[in-house]
Symmetry: C2
Subunit: 202 residues, 2 copies
């Protein structure tokens, strides 16, 4: 019994850009399509795998490598993974991509893009205000680097799109890569899988 | 699509008792039966997930919880896992058991048993000699506790059994729990799965 290869949808983006929200929406959307995925959320992983690590470049890289290691194990066993961590450094993201692709699984990098002034304006957790006032060291995008992906599979712009529109872009990429059937194939199948339940944007 | 529940075969036992060797033999045996499993070896996990942790009770427990976390993710996605770490403390092993069983997956505790005088006699890595001479603090079974499992699913005695005999006990338990087909079912199937290729002991 050889399991089909799995995939990792890898979100990268600033704090507050909407990674966790989008991960949850996407997982729910994929669930409706009959595709169960595992969410590895940055905060949850820090508590389960990386307690004690800080926010230096080295510690951030270690944290990302651990998420990558778990993603790789899951993906090579045929599971689908959504990883949602800031993952600010390009080099370690690319390293994770290589380890996952070397298993014959897919790595789909999603740049969760939102301008920093919008994030500072929203500032749900009040962190940007503190960071901009110099009260938080090593705050990504303010006092710590964020390296945008150069060639991500998907870019979502959370200040311009609804969550449904962003999720749909990723669903389309997963469909293109063969992890979900297209509507035409669904129409032929006996138990149609609903992919595009998301209403069109106005 | 609901994946079938997976399982975790959890080895516990002293250093040098044969956990890694048995894990490799068992994985190979299961591979012959068409069942791919993931080995989470204590040493490998320490390098991938737990670098920086030491051998205090707290750090050991953290390491075991991390292996448990990854095992749980894999098992709930239908994968089979063999975890091979000393895991000296009963309470955290039982905690891992509960988290895995709560996913509807199986936790099969295997006590890899070998008397300490046999281990000190073999002493492949020369560690027992040092530990017995007081040169290694926190060495399980010598200067650090080892809590034997009270009710493991399988006990293998590596000083009295061949590796094949030990592996076979675990294969039998996996068969009993429905993860492998029995010989009778194999005989009926079109592509027989060979389970018992291991020669009988003399």
């Amino acid at each position: 019994m050889t399991r089909p290869k799995g995939f990792t949808v890898w979100f990268t983006g600033l704090s507050g850009a909407g990674k966790t929200t989008l991960a949850t929406a996407l997982a729910s959307e994929l669930g409706l399509c009959g595709l169960k995925v595992e969410i590895l959320d940055g905060d949850e992983v820090r508590s389960n795998l990386s307690k004690g690590l800080g926010f230096s470049k080295e510690d951030r890289d270690t944290n990302i490598r651990r998420i990558g290691y778990v993603s790789r194990l899951l993906a090579r066993n045929g599971a689908g993974v959504i990883a949602a961590a800031i993952s600010p450094y390009r080099e370690v993201r690319d390293e994770v991509r290589r380890t996952i692709e070397s298993e014959g699984a897919a790595f789909i990098e999603v740049f969760v893009k939102c301008p920093i002034d919008v994030l500072a304006e929203r500032d749900v957790k009040g962190l940007y205000k503190k960071a901009l006032a110099g009260e938080i060291k090593e705050f990504t995008g303010v006092s710590d680097p964020y390296e945008e992906p150069l060639d991500p599979e998907v870019v979502v712009e959370t200040d311009r799109e609804t969550i449904e529109q962003s999720a749909r872009k990723i669903v389309q990429e997963l469909t293109r890569q063969g992890f979900l059937r297209t509507d035409r194939e669904n129409a032929r199948s006996q138990t149609p899988i609903r992919i595009e339940h998301v209403p069109e944007a106005a």
